[in-house]
Structures are given as structure tokens and as C-alpha cells.
């Protein structure tokens, strides 16, 4: 009697609640967290000609348990200057693209936040609309614009500004243009969200107290929109470091990026252990930015 009632009470109170918590927790643990452990595992195994193409980590033979931890893949990454150059190239390119996105996106978001109420929704939809179409096709658009026989070169040669086509395609320049173009909406969105929340009376107070426009911007607006700057920058920088499509379609031999190198290790060389080691090192390099973004985002999510 009593125990069953208590059990029923506990059941009602906790089992339902636990099940609700467990649903996303189990799914994401299984399909998001656990896979990373497997990447770590495979990165420590030896490459083998087999299906799947890697050797076992633990082997039980002749009554002895052998555990192989092969650090060779990581040492291999260090020994070949290609990989170091690719990591450095990715970080450099992503950084420049992020700064350019911020320089274009901040004034855009500022103007949007200042626009009359009705116009704001339209502007927001206009900025977001391209990102809802197709990433691949938006990158593809630049192939027709930047190539040697592309739109810009045709236009400039037609006008007689230049005699021979400018080499813009397959350069550092085209890769950065592609990243800025593809990721700009993700910079503008969080900046806009922060700037609309900005209390106008603070700016008025600053101006009433005789603060000049630039001074007010540097001392009031900029610090109060820092959350948006961090979120926007991380939303551009982190995926850009691992970008594959843009360097593949717009890049050339001198635009080495790690996402493309990883892809080729995996799909062309079929060297899964090296690809896994590349992914682990990339994750390690991005750990600080990801934690930074997470801290900001979870504040937004929970407050």
C-alpha cells in the first residue's frame, strides 16, 4: 500500500522527467560525443590495407593482451611540412576572413538596428535569405565572376582598364572572398541581436553629457555589443578553419587549408588513421574558440 503509493509518486515525479532529459542527452552522446572518442581511437591505430582500413588497438593472442598505441600518425603530421603549412594557412585565412566579415558586418548590423521597426524585419530577412539558398551554389557563383574569362576580367578588359586578365581565381584572394561571402550573414545576425537590445537612453545620456559620437561608440556601444562580436566571430572563424568546399572550388595550389587536406587523406589516400589524427589536432587547436563560443551561447540559452 504505502510503498506502492510512494513508488507511484516517485515514478510520476522522476521517471517522466528523467525520460525527457534522457532523450536528447542519449541521442547527442551517442551521435555527437561518442564519435569523437572513436576519432581519437582510430588516430592511434595503424593504417592497414583492410576494410575498414586500420589495425586493431587491442589484441588478445597467446594469452597476452596487447594494446597498441601508435603515436606514429601524430609524429607523421609533424614531420611533413605540408600539414603544418595547411594548419597555419587555415588559421591565417580564417582569421583574415573573420576580420573582414566583422568590418563589413558591424556597420550593417548597426544600420539595421537603427532602422525603423517595420524595415528591420525586411532587412533581417534580406540578410538571411542568401544563407537559406545553397552554400555550394553561392560559392559556385564566384567561379563565374572571378575566373580569368570571368565577369570582372571581361568587364575590365572591355573597358580597356587592363590588357591581360587579372589572376584572381585560385588565389588566397578568391578563398577569402568566398568565405566572407558565405559567412557574412552569420556575423551580422548575432551583432544585430545585440545592437537592437542596446538601450538608447544610454547613448542619449552620453551625448547629453557632451560625449562625442566616436567616443560614445568606443566607450558605450562597442563594449555592450562585445557578446555579439564574439559570437559572430566564432560562428565565422571556427567553421572557416575546417572549410573544405571553398578552398576546393575557389582555391589553388598555394592556398593550403586543413579541411581540404583531411578530405584528401580520407577519400583519395584512404588513410583513415592520418585523417583522424588531423581531425584531433584541428579540434585541439579550435578548443579555446569553441569553449569561448559555448560560454557565450549557454549564457544566451539559459538566462
Amino acid at each position: 500500500m504505502m510503498p506502492s503509493r510512494i513508488a507511484g509518486f516517485i515514478k510520476r515525479l522522476h521517471l517522466g522527467r528523467r525520460a525527457v532529459i534522457a532523450f536528447p542527452l542519449v541521442w547527442l552522446t551517442l551521435f555527437f560525443l561518442l564519435p569523437f572518442a572513436l576519432v581519437l581511437k582510430i588516430s592511434l591505430s595503424e593504417s592497414a590495407i583492410a576494410i575498414p582500413p586500420y589495425g586493431p588497438l587491442v589484441e588478445y593472442a597467446d594469452q597476452t593482451l596487447n594494446i597498441f598505441l601508435n603515436l606514429g600518425n601524430y609524429l607523421f603530421l609533424l614531420s611533413d611540412s605540408l600539414y603544418v603549412a595547411a594548419y597555419w594557412g587555415s588559421i591565417k585565412t580564417a582569421f583574415v576572413a573573420t576580420v573582414v566579415c566583422l568590418l563589413i558586418g558591424y556597420p550593417m548590423a548597426y544600420a539595421m538596428a537603427r532602422a525603423p521597426g517595420r524595415l528591420q524585419l525586411i532587412l533581417l530577412l534580406l540578410v538571411m535569405l542568401p544563407s537559406w539558398t545553397s552554400f555550394l551554389i553561392r560559392v559556385y557563383a564566384w567561379m563565374g565572376i572571378l575566373s580569368n574569362s570571368g565577369l570582372i576580367n571581361n568587364l575590365l578588359m572591355g573597358l580597356g582598364v587592363i590588357d591581360s586578365p587579372l589572376r584572381m581565381m585560385n588565389t588566397q584572394f578568391s578563398v577569402i572572398v568566398g568565405i566572407v561571402y558565405a559567412y557574412l550573414p552569420f556575423m551580422v545576425l548575432p551583432l544585430y541581436a545585440h545592437l537592437t537590445r542596446l538601450d538608447n537612453s544610454l547613448l542619449e545620456a552620453a551625448s547629453d553629457l557632451g560625449s562625442r559620437k566616436l567616443n560614445t561608440f568606443l566607450k558605450v556601444t562597442l563594449p555592450l555589443s562585445m557578446g555579439g562580436i564574439i559570437a559572430g566571430s566564432m560562428l565565422v572563424f571556427i567553421p572557416a578553419v575546417g572549410e573544405f568546399v571553398i578552398p576546393e572550388l575557389l582555391g589553388g595550389p598555394d592556398t593550403l587549408m586543413i579541411g581540404k587536406v583531411l578530405w584528401e587523406e580520407f577519400f583519395l589516400n584512404r588513410d583513415w588513421p592520418v585523417a583522424s589524427a588531423l581531425a584531433m589536432v584541428m579540434l585541439l587547436l579550435l578548443l579555446v574558440p569553441i569553449v569561448w563560443f559555448h560560454r557565450y551561447q549557454s549564457r544566451e540559452l539559459e538566462e
Binding site: F23, L121, W132, S134, M143, H294, S298
Partner: protein, 280 residues
Amino acid sequence: MMRSRRRPSFTTVMLVLGLLFLYLPMVVLVVYSFNESRLVTVWAGFSTQWYGELFRDQQILSAVWTSLEIAFFAASMAVCLGTVAAFVMTRYGHFRGKTALSSMVTAPLVMPEVITGLSLLLLFVQMAQLIGWPADRGMATIWIAHTTFCSAYVAVVVAARLREVDRSIEEAAMDLGSPPVKTFFFVTLPVIAPALAAGWLLAFTLSLDDLVITSFVSGPGANTLPMVVFSSVRMGVSPKINALATLIILTVSLATLLAWYFMRRSEAKRQSVIQQGEGV
């Protein structure tokens, strides 16, 4: 303030230039889809022949169907998963595993796709070795992968709405004896329904658009639209892809226009209700 009214401010100029930067390449894509020449960059006269070729391309047509199918099921599952995650994060206070859950909800938003794709593939390979499933990679594995990363976006959208909603209505329902499940379905859900719709649409477009993760977890049987487009685009520009791009841009623009119309109408309705309320 007065000064800015006379001549456009720096930020307004930047906004206009930024929008031009975003839209001019898309305009170029659309214009050259009507070009007669095979060369995308030389204008040779108006023609709609590339649309005809597009609709005769069986590979593209079947890929469109595959992509739509996966996107529909992935978006639907992502809405369930993301909404529950958002609800748990915003309504359950503290529980064990909350930090883990919130990290796993925000991390997919920024995780480079090559890492996510590779890690999921390794999981599926390992699962096939251990439990014999999935024997073949294809629609099912793509569905799981898309659901996982899309649910993160849904969770962010829905959590934003859940934080805005007045909790006192939910509390009132509970105080009057409504069980939590009933309260959720009859009180909370109707209020956050627009966010669920927005989350579903976002997940749908993300799933339709994904190339990198899909390429890792796909098998021989399943070719999605981005995979087919990518293998074509790699070979260089082709007017057929421009025609496809035009149709995609048209569809998204119409859907956005429709969404904008409904948002404006519901806003107008809300305003009139408020005014009526004040009149009484």
C-alpha cells in the same frame, strides 16, 4: 540626428553596399542561366534551353527527390529532439548532465563539418562491426547525421522563444492540477508553435544544403543533390547549374516572402487586439 537625415550615414551606406555584395553574385547566376552559350561568362543571347536540359537530367531529378525525402524526415526528427532539448534547458533548472547537454547542443553550431562527418562515419563503421547495423550506409545514416546537427539549430531557435514566453500561464495550469505532459501539449506547445515552424524550416534547408557531412556518411546508393551538384561544379561552370541555382533562389525567395506576409499579418492582428483591449 539632424545631420544624419540630410545625408546618408556611413552605416547606411555600408548596409546598402553589403546587401549589394550579397545579392549581385546571385543576380549574375540568374542572368547567365538564360544565356544561350555554354560558356557561362560570355553573353550570346536569351535562351531557356538549360532549363530543358535540367529537367531531362535524371541524375539531378532523382537526387532532388532523395534530398527532399531526407530533409523532411531529418527536419521532423530534429524538431522533436531540439524542442525537448530546449525545454529541458530552459525549464528544468539544474540536473545532472546539464553542462554536458548544453555543450552538445551548442558545439554542432560551430564544429567544422569535416570533423563531424569523419567522426560519424567512424561511428557507423564501428557499429556495423559490433552490432551489424548499419550494414550499408545510405539514407538512414544520412538521416541520423542530419538530425543530429539540425537539432542543435532547432534547440537554439526554440529556446529563444521559450525564454520569451510568460511562464505564469504554465504555472497556473500546473497549479490547477494539469499534469506536466498535458501542460506542455496544451499550454506551452501552442505558444511556441511559430518557433517550431521556424526551426523545422531552418533544419529542412540545412539538411537540403549539406555536402560535407553527407559525403562522409553516405553510401553507394544515396546521392543527394549537393553531392551531384558538387561533382558537376568541380569540373567547372555549367549553365545547367545556373538554371538549378535560379530555381532554388526563386523557391527560397517565395517562401521568405510568404513567411514575411504571415509575420506581418499576425503582428497587425496582435496590434489590433491590443488596441481593442485598450478600448474596452
